[in-house]
Symmetry: C3
Subunit: 138 residues, 3 copies
Amino acid sequence: MKSFTKELWFNTGKKKEFINITSEIEKLLTKSGIQEGLCLVNAMHITSSVFVNDDEQGLHHDFDLWLEKLAPHEPVHSYRHNVGEDNADAHLKRQIMGREVVAAVTGGKLHFGPWEQIFYGEFDGMRRKRVLVKIIGE
Amino acid sequence: MKSFTKELWFNTGKKKEFINITSEIEKLLTKSGIQEGLCLVNAMHITSSVFVNDDEQGLHHDFDLWLEKLAPHEPVHSYRHNVGEDNADAHLKRQIMGREVVAAVTGGKLHFGPWEQIFYGEFDGMRRKRVLVKIIGE
Amino acid sequence: MKSFTKELWFNTGKKKEFINITSEIEKLLTKSGIQEGLCLVNAMHITSSVFVNDDEQGLHHDFDLWLEKLAPHEPVHSYRHNVGEDNADAHLKRQIMGREVVAAVTGGKLHFGPWEQIFYGEFDGMRRKRVLVKIIGE
């Protein structure tokens, strides 16, 4: 069994942002030399997500409004977590969008459907944060 | 390390549907010959889900109403994604229900609790769509 | 390839509870002797969750209120599942919080960010329920 490990760093310009990381993951997969296996991609922080969805700007706008409705940032003091912090909503948003994606590796490629793209979802950004890529297989 | 890969096709009769795929996954697992490992089952489309929950009709009705409340289909034009499309809500519903399930394989069987069943959840159906099964182990 | 399997039992004192199981998972990982691989931790029941978030009491209180708002327990008879049962909301809450976590194993340790902790989330407790730990790797 082979394994491959890599941490990716992000520092978003905005508090909330969606970044398509598919091509970066594909490059790491090629580098790993693994042909058949599983590829785990997860946020290493608890106020951000890794998820698979569509690379479409309108949809990302819809996600943003929807998450703000389900887990609003304001009023900040409605959250007991927000003592010296204001990111309780980011912890909640990340539960909706998920921590991780496990992708199949087949023939040395991400085995994806036609529209599947992997995103880093940031809900408390403008600081250095990490995503972990772990690939195992043969 | 062994690996096994199979794509399953679905074409639901309704826009929204939950289909129990547990016995189909179990058959593939037997066919793989893998005794100990991990079994990934994921939707290959971004408007459908794979999830584990109860095979109970009342609950599925509750899921349907609940998802419609959290991520309503109407009004269609409230979503910026819906330009020439009307499935923005399906992209949102799938985030709640999840893209994938990773199940443990022990002694050649899905290592499940008494009520765990794997479902394909369709939120934008009536067309051909796929689920991927990837099993790795020994 | 090595594999390691263990079921953990829980019987919470309250209907709803969050329990930090990180150190227990770390002990099992050490026992497995696996250095590089993947560690699956999943609820074996469909009214509970395994998830990664912050070990902070205020946040757990926020999670509880938020889940009660998104998937309220009352009115019990608003759910079609609740015929001779009253736990439909627990099935819904578990979809928000997730069934499972897949963690990377690097150098014999859980490869986690600074605040990542694994929790068992109970939404229909006060009875014996299980979590499965499956580790594969080398």
